[in-house]
């Protein structure tokens, strides 16, 4: 390492001595390639196009965000005097969503990019431009691995002036990176700095995605960059605990971006400005959860994993009290009463161990299933069982069956509540093991709401981390009864068995039925009333199976098994038929969006509706900017909806002759083009290439 480094230093010193002759070779020794690219190969005077500084870093090397964090410097693009444009013709560098670059755990944290980063800039072609637009500049950046090297690169771009000609690949790339630039936050942000740690509360209508990890990146240095930002969620949003820096003070407001990493989704960023004040209501109802792994280049640290596993363990403990678990555990407790009565402490102990084993195996299986789903779909949210209609239907039926069993309608061979005789050692072990499994199965739906955030964070982690967290939770769930079965003093205070145990067992059937009813309501949301009807029919078939299975004989037994299969299979199949409502968040835009055609425009205008046409393409960077800042903003959507605007999209990603004709007819060389037809008109207004929310809302509201 040292030798390599010395050799490198020697080489650099040598190059510096050789001077200009070696400059070309020095360029080859750079750790990043810097390049200027443009969405056009040729431009027209007066238009605004997007150019970008594209940085490709060597593996392991990184450059920095606009705020580099504790160490480092952001890259700069400095225009040379030889450029044909004035400095103000180039807009500000647009900073895509950065990653966390932990340098020293808990001590030094940087913010930046590795691999590739594209920084877009708006270029306003001068109205009087003739011949060509020549951008000549120096890219000045600090690039670091374990060591840092300042590098400069001469970059240039020449754009002939004449007609507008797209550079499709470059436009696609710039557009994709502009889409990564944090957009405006459609909610409210507030910073409560009355005491350390500060509370940053973020309200967002509809809340943050389930299992999301949120990280705040400040523009300045008010907060300690390496400190964890424990987060919690409420019905209206989320809050983060921020540790102030030694000299950290909030001026009027705390400004920066938040990065939201939801399981299975691309990370999203929002620019926030948090005014000082009390925390916003409804943003902090659940317990704070430390979030690790948000936007980190490296995986979860050992400490992060340990604290996550610790929380999972506590969550497992608390699961014992969940309404969907408690009845099963009470059955377990009843079994222990029997064992205590028979005076076999050894059996009680093995009972506890078998129960723990059953739970751990089930949680391991659950982790494997989640990992498999993640592998297969690249996506897994916690509580995903409850978003899959057939699973919900089958769970409801299992709850119903358990209720029937608690009521005493049928008996299971190795029942742990077989209170008459003590526990046969074999039956006890199997019984205890299956109680563990059962506790996990009915407990799993409760896991989602309770530890969603923590498990969401681990979801994006390597498989062993997921497994460790799930096993910790299983062990937490098993611990109370494991302790009961090992501490003699504790099981001596267990009550004596008696008839009350049967009564109690029957009573616990009702929470089971209630859970089934709740699952049916979930099912109704997921798959509609039809699926609920089929599940109720399945429950009836279940009852029939129990009734007919009571007698002896192969015919009856066959009928019972057939009814049982039908009871589970039919609802599962029926629930799988997609209903009108999908499991996820409704993503239907507030206003109707339809494909553009001239006849469609005429038809809508004949109806007397105002029409907005968006001529766009995936490779058009300006189009993405307008979409990001204006067209997909809630304010504009609301204004469109209020004025009953028909929103038509003409997608020019694939060359379309009809769209090309329309562009030509309006005197445009390409996209973007925005047409606005006020109600009752036939000729549109052509809007500027760069939209603002104010402009569009003003037009729609007729101001």
């Amino acid at each position: 390492m040292i030798r390599a480094y010395r050799a490198l230093m020697l080489a650099l010193t040598g190059l510096a001595l050789l001077g200009p002759v070696a400059a070309a070779q020095a360029a080859d020794a750079r750790r990043a390639e810097a390049e200027l690219i443009s969405e056009r190969t040729s431009v027209i005077p007066g238009e605004t196009v997007f150019v970008a500084l594209k940085m490709t870093m060597d593996p392991g090397w990184h450059i920095y965000w606009r705020n580099a964090g504790d160490a480092g410097l952001p890259p700069q693009l400095i225009l040379k005097d030889s450029a044909s444009i004035a400095e103000d013709a180039l807009g500000e560098m647009m900073w895509p969503l950065p990653k966390l670059l932990p340098v020293v755990d808990g001590e030094i944290m940087d913010y930046g990019y590795d691999d590739e980063a594209v920084f877009a800039l708006a270029l306003t072609v001068p109205v009087d431009a003739v011949g060509e637009v020549r951008i000549e500049a120096v890219a000045d950046y600090l690039i670091c691995e374990s060591i840092c090297i300042p590098e400069t690169a001469d970059v240039s771009l020449v754009l002939p002036v004449g007609e507008a000609v797209e550079n499709v690949p470059a436009g696609e790339l710039i557009g994709a990176w502009i889409a990564k630039v944090p957009g405006s936050f459609e909610g409210e942000a507030r910073i409560d700095d009355a005491a350390a740690p500060w509370t940053l509360s973020l309200s967002l209508a509809g809340g943050f995605p389930e299992g999301a990890g949120i990280r705040f990146f400040p523009f300045e240095h008010e907060i300690s960059h390496p400190a964890d930002q424990p987060q919690r969620f409420g019905p209206n949003g989320a809050s983060l605990l921020l540790t102030p820096d030694r000299a950290g003070q909030v001026g009027d407001a705390l400004e920066g971006i938040i990065r939201v990493d939801a399981p299975g989704a691309e990370p999203v960023g929002y620019v926030i400005r948090a005014e000082r004040g009390e925390a916003l209501a409804g943003t902090a109802d659940a317990a704070f959860v430390p979030v690790a792994g948000v936007g980190e280049v490296a995986g979860l640290s050992w400490q992060g994993l340990l604290s996550l596993a610790g929380f999972a363990f506590l969550g497992g403990l608390i699961l014992n009290l969940m309404p969907c678990v408690l009845p099963v555990l009470s059955m377990k407790a009843l079994g222990m009463v029997s064992a205590a009565a028979s005076g076999h402490a050894g059996e009680l102990r093995s009972h506890g161990l078998w129960y723990t084993g059953g739970l751990l195996v089930s949680f391991a299986a659950l982790a494997l299933v989640i990992l498999a789903v993640r592998q297969a779909t690249g996506f897994a949210t916690l509580g995903f069982q409850l978003q899959h209609a057939p699973t919900v239907a089958v769970l409801a039926l299992i709850m119903f069956a358990v209720g029937l069993w608690l009521m005493g309608f049928f008996e299971l061979g190795s029942s742990i509540t077989n209170t008459g005789s003590g526990l046969a050692s074999r039956g006890g072990a199997v019984g205890a093991f299956s109680t563990g499994v059962l506790a996990a199965v009915v407990g799993a739906p409760c896991v989602g709401p309770f530890l969603g955030a923590a498990l969401g964070a681990v979801m994006s982690q390597p498989a062993p981390a997921v497994m460790a967290v799930f096993l910790a939770m299983g062990f937490g769930m098993a611990l109370p009864f494991l302790v009961l079965s090992f501490v003699p003093g504790l099981h001596r205070v267990l009550p004596k068995p008696g008839k009350w145990m049967d009564t109690l067992k029957q009573f616990f059937a009702f929470p089971m039925f209630l859970t089934a009813a709740w699952l049916l309501s979930v099912l109704a949301d997921l798959a509609g009333a039809g699926a609920v009807g089929w599940t109720l029919a399945g429950a009836t078939a279940l009852g029939f199976a129990v009734w007919i299975g009571r007698g002896a004989g192969p015919v009856r037994r066959g009928a019972a098994i057939a009814a049982l299969i039908a009871a589970f299979a039919l609802p599962a199949v029926q629930a799988n038929v997609p209903a009108g409502k999908a499991g996820g968040e409704p993503s239907v835009p507030a206003y109707a969006e339809a494909a553009w055609s001239p006849s469609q425009v005429d038809a809508l205008l004949a109806e007397g509706r105002p029409v907005f046409v968006d001529f766009t393409a995936s490779w058009c960077a300006s189009c993405q900017v307008n979409k990001l800042t204006t067209l997909s903003s809630k304010r504009v959507k609301a204004a469109f909806e209020a004025a009953d605007v028909a929103f038509l999209v003409a997608d020019f990603t694939q060359k379309d002759p009809a769209i090309a004709d329309e562009l030509k007819r309006r005197g445009r060389a390409g996209v973007p083009m925005y047409l606005w037809y006020p109600a009752g008109t036939s000729e549109p207004q052509i809007l500027p290439e760069l939209l603002t929310q104010e402009l569009v809302i003003g037009l729609v509201e007729g101001r």
Partner: protein
């Protein structure tokens, strides 16, 4: 119904456990780095001359601590000759009876790591004039002071108070040319102390390479 009662006490116990854990977690995220205006943390360390020094040895004198790493471009900027910015500061400190301590917190195998021989070589070859060079390869002193970058400067008064924590100057860059136009925070703080005034700018954001801790 003793089962239910036991569940209740179990619930209370677990709730308390969760609350305690959350509290501890929040408390542990608070940084323990020293604040300016409070006593500077006591430390002792071995120098490149083989002596063991501690902060208490310099009671009655102003102490400047400079975190350094000779491979870091930001450190090179301030040691570049001309204008020999860091060396000039060290010489004038020595003339004013101010104790200048350079600290190397790079771990072995990392950039800037120096054993006593190399540290002395560096001092000689760069024409540097620190009173002591402390070898802190374990990073203990660095983490005690919360040193983040090289360079990162700290000033301690004769009565042991930390009065400056931050960058060497106002231009966060690795270009030697920027030294001339930057305002030097260390010079300014020393002038304030000389004039018997409180340090006007006690905390700035240090810039440079991250300290190469173990």
């Amino acid at each position: 119904m003793q089962i239910t009662r036991r569940h209740l006490s179990l619930a209370a116990g677990m709730t308390a456990a969760v609350a305690l854990t959350a509290g501890a977690l929040i408390a542990s995220t608070a940084q323990a780095a020293p604040a300016t205006g409070t006593p500077a943390p006591a430390f002792s360390g071995v120098t490149s001359a083989g002596e063991t020094i501690s902060l208490a040895d310099f009671a009655g004198k102003t102490v400047i601590m400079e975190w350094t790493n000779d491979g870091c471009p930001f450190v090179k900027k301030h040691y570049a000759a001309p204008p020999s910015n860091m060396q000039t500061l060290q010489n004038s400190a020595a003339a004013d009876d101010v104790v200048w301590i350079s600290v190397i917190s790079s771990a072995e195998g990392e950039q800037g790591y120096a054993d006593a021989v190399r540290a002395n070589e560096l001092t000689a070859s760069r024409g540097a004039a620190p009173a002591h060079v402390v070898l802190d390869e374990a990073g203990t002193i660095g983490k005690l002071y919360g040193a983040k970058t090289t360079p990162h400067m700290f000033i301690i008064t004769p009565d042991g108070k930390l009065v400056y924590d931050g960058a060497i100057d106002s231009k966060a860059s690795s270009k030697v040319a920027d030294i001339e136009t930057a305002s030097n925070y260390v010079t300014a703080a020393l002038a304030d102390l000389e004039a018997g005034k409180p340090v006007a700018t006690p905390v700035t954001k240090p810039y440079g390479c991250a300290v190469k801790y173990k």
